[in-house]
Symmetry: C2
Subunit: 326 residues, 2 copies
């Protein structure tokens, strides 16, 4: 198996819908049109995914975490370039599994591979490292930023919170779940659902947005900090899946469990803000894009992001989310 | 040291000339304008650079190998997004060294950072891995492809061949060199010189081009294969630096030494083809862009890439260049 064979046989077919990719035979690709919204996320075995995760799912997650960034900005994805560093002892069949996953999500999200670089570690056991640069078209209303929330705005979040973190615990057998709950939670860990149609539907309506990768509290904290405001989140209004609700019900300290959910990573939901006067429009956008949306709090003058009980008491959060350098 | 501090203090200043980077506070960046030429190269410690190489030089090389891809296509570079996976035990000062190198070459090549992802290995000794996606504006004549050489075209190469490979041997003390030669050769290994102005000057004039990353023979072989032709290279016409010429003169088998030079990687020169009728225009483009250019052979009907003596005998080449999966 040579580098050329891998590129020609396994990756070049993924560029079929991208004439500017030149079938991966050139030094660079051409992206016609523009302007573009561009994002880049790197995934490393043992850090961002489990080393034994099926490679088709890893490939799809690598695309989806980037799609989620575009979703937060309201962009419509078009294509990506891919850098892979494979373990030194990788087998061709494993690369084929990976490419099959790419192909499935290319079809699901209508994006195409445009180019990249395929390399290998010197070490047989070097961790698979995947770098995706994804680009898309900005919404005509302009991209939704993080720093533009207003004081008094409502705070919303899509989908449900904490499932992927519970899925990771389920996969690692740190916690026990029913078979059904384990399947649903681990599915959320392996395959986040980028909220593209919702992100596009709220462009021009949302005052600010962020995708949740490191945990609700830390990421909403980032949006609040960028906007020079404080975020207050009503803990009970945080949307939970049935599996997460069952998990909370089994815990001794339920407030603490709820707080923990809000610090788990890998949600890839979107948190966004909008003026109170826009509540009806937000709900219509949610309905039109068939996305669950919950109003979970508001932005006020001040700083930080806090989780509050129904009576307004602050709930301490166990940690602030994942930090590669902490 | 936290991820946020690193991004805000060390990387955000590198976006000063790119308003669309939003000071690295958002989920994605906006690239105004377009169309774009886009390329991606990944560099791994121990594979693409020496683990002890100074990090400012590693950063500059990471930009330059991508700039070289754009040069081959005739594009004018504009900016890049950066993914870094640092060893788990990285120190802030090391990241600062790296960013200083980025800043130097950003100024030299007038490109800006637009965004990216900063992560770390779980392992303290995980290899530094750098993924750069570089984008630029295509030349108004259209990009120079690999697959469009014509039978009978001349084959040219910029600069000199094999220096970086000798530089690597000098750094690894595999071969002895004078102090002056060692400095010049290792400089060529650490800091390739992307041939941007020449690449732009020959857009519309060259029939095909490729940047030399894996070795003259393998890369010219790729150009020939993509064009459905055979490349014949006159070994004596391959441009050599004074240091490389001195090295050849010290070898017992000089033809073999010359052949070896043509298989060393990391040249980051451009090989290109042009019709014989364009010889004068090619030399004028070289002069205008202050780039050394040598005519080293031609494209003919057939396949493969061969190295020939003055009498037309084929010189066997020791290997075909670097392959990550071979």
């Amino acid at each position: 198996m040579g580098e050329r064979d891998i590129i020609r046989d396994i990756f070049a077919p993924l560029t079929a819908d991208a004439p500017g990719a030149f079938n991966l035979t050139d030094d660079a690709a051409v992206l016609d049109g523009g302007p573009y919204v561009v994002t880049k996320d790197v995934l490393i075995a043992g850090v961002h995914f489990r080393p034994k995760d099926p490679l088709d799912l890893v490939a799809r997650k690598a695309l989806r975490v980037n799609l989620s960034d575009l979703a937060a900005m309201g962009a419509k994805p078009e294509g990506y370039v891919l850098g892979c560093v494979w373990p030194g002892n990788i087998k061709r069949a494993a690369i084929e599994d990976f490419a099959r996953g790419l192909g499935e999500d290319q079809a699901a999200y209508r994006v195409s591979l445009y180019g990249g670089d395929t390399t290998a570690h010197k070490l047989k056991s070097g961790p698979l490292t995947i770098s995706v640069t994804m680009f898309g078209a900005p919404p005509k209303q302009g991209v939704t930023r993080r720093s533009t929330a207003g004081a008094g705005d409502d705070l919303y979040v899509t989908g449900s919170i904490g499932d992927a973190g519970l899925g990771l615990k389920a996969l690692g057998r740190e916690e026990k779940f029913t078979t059904v709950d384990k399947a649903s939670l681990s599915g959320r860990y392996h395959l986040p659902e980028p909220r593209l149609s919702m992100g596009q539907a709220i462009a021009g309506l949302a005052t600010a947005a962020i995708d949740l990768s490191d945990g609700l509290m830390i990421d909403v904290g980032r949006l609040a900090a960028a906007s020079g405001l404080r975020a207050e989140i009503d803990a009970v209004s945080i949307p939970r899946s049935a599996a997460a609700a069952a998990w909370i019900a089994r815990q001794d300290k339920r407030w603490r469990a709820l707080a923990a959910l809000s610090t788990f990573g890998d949600d890839y939901e979107i948190a966004f803000t909008a003026p109170q006067s826009m509540r009806r429009s937000v709900m219509m956008a949610a309905k039109a894009s068939r996305t669950e949306v919950a109003r979970i709090g508001s932005l006020t003058r001040g700083e930080g992001a806090v989780l509050l009980t129904e009576t307004g008491a602050e709930i301490p959060t166990p940690r602030d989310g994942f930090d590669h350098f902490a």
